[in-house]
């Protein structure tokens, strides 16, 4: 049965588009989470009609399918864990000429994000979704997960920067949504529904992306602040929001994160004053900032500050923020959560998380950092020195329901950016009601009645 199906598949796509066997499939079996995968085989279609035939065959034979792109996911959304067929889009990486008039570009789902950037920059345009993984991740994955990244505060999430999608449903039918229109009020917005659906409704094959001119960023500076406590974060955010410039990034981290970066990577802050939290505010604009800076810094919540104007000094400040993930991984065993709450409640949320841990008396150290300006704190739980891993692990299991209970109380999100995939399913009920999940199921079965597409993911 299984080998008969693989033979049919091989006849459909050609033997060189089908990978069978553990070794050949290995590179397509997992993502950045290293969740172990177990694929039936891997197919690498070259075109939408080819993919359509593959899915029609799978649908007929009831073979479940996992769509896969650059495999940089952080929720195991593209990992085949139950012998599914992996459909990798990497070969469908076409790039059309960007249209200067409509400021759009049509690309294959397998196009690597950084290649799209470079392709469009030749004509002075860019797709404003910028991700740490841009050298490997693909447009199809970016859209399937509604990627965010480094410029959300300025440009928003990926879903804002798309004017058409082509996708193949599990039954093999091909749909094109919106076809590059700026405006189209003709019924339910299936395009937005597809974005962020993590490959459970259809497999994206092509997209038209909206572009912006490559920004000039005149007068780019970084303000780096040490603040007394969490209250300094919203204070500075509001000051920066109303400041004489545009905010390009507004990141924060706790003093513990800074210590880890110093201890593990030897990167030191140039601020002399120490605070409970630090803020990196990248701004641009050509208006005078003197009066603003004087008024802002006079508040006793601000313990110390510096301005980085040169490219080198800016890199130095960014290197502190960018070193956090690595240095925490080098520090101890950890669990990480990518949360969000309304922007004006981040500080109070962090204080409540700390208070909740204090009350629970569990052996966990909390490290807070992330995109303050998007209301999106990362909460990392680390194993304290001298505590056995098992005790820490158990403590995390006990603390997580409290943490997610707080997320629910704040009507926040258990996954601000990374999606739900496989790894965050168990927390989904803290962000979504039973009623919403019922609607999810009905929508899923409208697109994929047999439940063969990315089964077991999201809900």
């Amino acid at each position: 049965m299984r080998s008969e199906f693989l033979n049919s598949l091989s006849r459909t796509v050609g033997a060189d588009s089908l990978l069978v066997g553990k070794d050949a499939c290995f590179p397509y079996s997992t993502d950045w989470t290293k969740t172990p995968g177990n694929p039936l085989a891997v197919v690498l279609p070259r075109s939408t009609p080819e993919l359509s035939k593959v899915l029609a065959l799978c649908s007929k034979e009831k073979v479940p399918v996992v769509p896969s792109g650059g495999r940089t996911g952080l929720a195991a959304g593209a990992v085949p864990t139950n012998g599914e067929l992996v459909v990798n889009l990497g070969r469908m990486d076409s790039l059309s000429e960007p249209s200067l008039l409509s400021r759009t570009v049509r690309v294959g789902a397998g196009a690597v994000t950084e290649n799209v950037h470079q392709h469009c920059e030749k004509v002075g345009l860019t797709w404003p979704i910028d991700l740490a993984s841009k050298g490997s991740c693909q447009i199809g994955g970016n859209l399937s997960t509604n990627a965010g990244g480094l410029k959300v505060i300025r440009y928003g999430m990926a879903r804002k920067w798309v004017t058409s999608l082509e996708f193949v449903k599990m039954d093999g039918s091909v749909l094109t949504l919106n076809a590059g229109l700026e405006k189209n009020n003709t019924g339910y917005d299936l395009l937005q529904l597809m974005i962020g659906s993590e490959g459970t409704l259809g497999i994206l094959t092509e997209a038209t992306l909206k572009l912006v001119p490559v920004p000039e960023e005149k007068g780019k500076s970084i303000y780096f602040f040490a603040v007394k406590n969490a209250l300094g974060l919203p204070y500075l955010f509001e000051k920066c929001r109303t400041g004489p410039f545009e905010i390009l990034a507004f990141e924060f981290f706790s003093s513990k994160c800074l210590e880890a970066v110093s201890n593990k990577l030897g990167r030191e802050s140039k601020l002399r004053g120490k605070g409970e939290y630090y803020v990196l505010a990248e701004v641009a604009g050509d208006r005078s900032r003197d009066a603003w800076a004087e008024a802002t810094l006079s508040n006793p919540l601000v313990i110390d500050s510096l301005v980085a104007d040169s490219s080198e000094s800016q890199k130095q400040v960014w290197s502190l923020r960018e070193g956090i993930t690595e240095s925490l991984a080098l520090t101890a065993s950890l669990r990480k959560h990518d949360l969000s709450v309304p922007v004006d409640q981040v500080a109070s949320f962090l204080q409540d998380v700390e208070a909740s841990l204090f009350e629970a008396k569990l052996p966990i150290e909390l490290y807070f950092f992330g995109h303050f300006g998007d209301g999106s704190p990362h909460v990392n739980m680390l194993c304290p020195p001298s505590i056995p891993f098992e005790d820490f692990d158990r403590a995390c299991d006990l603390f997580e329901p409290k943490l997610f209970g707080l997320v629910q109380q704040y009507r926040g999100s258990i996954s601000s950016e990374h999606g739900v995939g496989l790894l965050k399913k168990k927390w989904l009920g803290f962000s979504r009601t039973k009623e919403e999940l019922d609607i999810f199921r009905a929508i899923k079965s409208a697109f994929d009645p047999k439940g063969l597409l990315n089964p077991g993911k999201v809900f």
Copy 2:
């Protein structure tokens, strides 16, 4: 049965919230299209719990419901044509304090758009959706129809400017989506699905709107151009897109539209040269434009141009564009269509529409104008002088399938802004495939299995 239901309803909301009888219901029976309505009664709930009880009762008694706001719709989406109960949201018009920190405001669905603007402008913020109907239309209607309006080229459609929605399903259950989060990747984006669903999935009761600072618009000017033919439109749009300023509006109209404005309203263009088309480009920015203007105007496609810098001269140019709808209505019987195609294909589309009419030899005069920069031309068909209305009407019936056939060929939209409602249903198949409509139906029945909410609208 009917009076029993109305008695129950009256007990639920109080007699002063229920309007019965033709005269009392009249103001809530139609919209700007003047499509005749025929409501069972009108209910004006004061709160979400009250609305929830109303819908639960209607659901139990199988009474169909039409949600209604400011009744400024142009597709009869809120008109009760078959004895439905009208639920008008006008009393649920609360306005919370805008949050400076998160740049959001929470408002009731019945809040009038202009009141929201004025409320937020007190603290220097605004909701960037600006509509000709803003003095009457309501936020619930703006979101249910994904309103566009005058600033789409700069800010996009309404769906970009919302961070939470509360709505009541037909069974009376209340859902809150997203709760003001900037980032939330936890499953299907039901918030975006609700926006633009024209009251067929649930009744919006509250929204959190994203705000922007009231724009300063330094150095605002209007360039007004006469161009030789349709090719001048994309030429100027590309020049303006790459010009030393930001585009605030990029509108176009044909010479016939200008003649109508002159004949009917006595408003005259200050340009001496005549062109087949005219362009109004409103721009802002403080960089020098001399070199740009010289290079742009040297193209023979540009027949004449002027720059309006004073507020008075800007008003004069805008009055030409704004007078078109009124003057066409004063000129002759007409049918209007609010279409869209990809921005880089508008000129070619208009030429094809003209050629198609020429070939069909039908007694129709075409008037083109609209939002060129959004790819959104209005195509108005007017009755030529001395042609009887019946002949014109028949000609329109014959020409419309050709017109929409062209829309389909360009993969355009039969309704770029106004929605589908009742009046555009028959053309929906030119923009949406059978497959998409099947998905619409499945989604509809996930939210409203009995099909009681805004029945017969959209599809």
